[in-house]
């Protein structure tokens, strides 16, 4: 199981803040594809990715138990 966290506009689009996906040893881009099969209106293109609270890239490979956050452009401060 990979836990996916959504924030801000993405959270509202999906209607939820967390999604669990059955997967293991998958790249972020693979994970995105799988996610978009169910949530096809989610716009993930502008979002940064964090794996276990660290910024990661499209080719980072995630394992079962990892937490992946999609981080839309931030606006704190």
């Amino acid at each position: 199981m990979i836990k996916i966290l959504l924030f801000a506009g993405l959270r509202e689009e999906a209607g939820k803040s967390e999604i669990e996906i059955k997967a293991d040893n998958l790249s972020i881009s693979g994970l995105k594809q799988q996610l978009l099969e169910t949530y096809n209106s989610l716009n993930l293109n502008g979002a940064m990715i964090a794996v276990n609270e660290e910024y990661a890239t499209e080719d980072t490979v995630v394992k079962s138990g990892d937490v992946v956050a999609f981080i839309p452009p931030v606006s704190g401060g």
Partner: protein, 150 residues
């Protein structure tokens, strides 16, 4: 006493200043970011901040570490508030102490710029005419629904 924190309670300037006070540091700069009522002609009613809390706190601490490397001898603290904020409420506080004032200014300004780049916190503007997650980290191009212009 956390130097870097994300919390729902009101922020205190006095408290954060105390966190960085040191007898060898003669200069302290603070930055107070408050909720502005007017942005150009648009009137804000209130704001809502959301954060990926554990990661946001980590990123704030990372900014502090970066600053202490760039400006040796400085000490930094950052607090960011989340949840619903009214006009004039404090959204963010940055305090930097330093033996020398130049570094205190530079490190402080560095921190607010970095917050707007890398810290996973988002604000939703609530206007009379509607609401919107602000999505561009430098606040120049807001876009609806968290969706950037591609």
């Amino acid at each position: 006493m956390e130097l870097f924190e994300v919390k729902s309670e009101p922020l205190s300037l006095e408290d954060i200043t105390k966190k960085v006070e040191r007898r060898e540091a003669g200069a302290i700069t603070t930055f107070i970011g408050t909720v502005r009522e007017w942005t150009k002609e648009k009137r804000t009613l209130y704001l809502e901040y959301q954060a990926y809390e554990p990661m946001a706190a980590k990123m704030l601490a990372q900014i502090g570490k970066e600053a202490e490397e760039k400006w040796p001898g400085t000490k930094m603290a950052i607090s960011h508030r989340i949840g619903r904020l009214e006009i004039s409420d404090i959204a963010v506080l940055i305090a930097v102490s330093s033996p020398h004032r130049k570094a205190a200014y530079e490190a402080n300004e560095y921190a607010i710029e970095r917050i707007k780049d890398i810290v996973p916190i988002w604000k939703k503007e609530h206007w009379e005419s509607g609401e919107e997650w602000i999505g561009n980290q430098k606040e120049t191009v807001p876009y609806p629904s968290g969706r950037p212009h591609l």
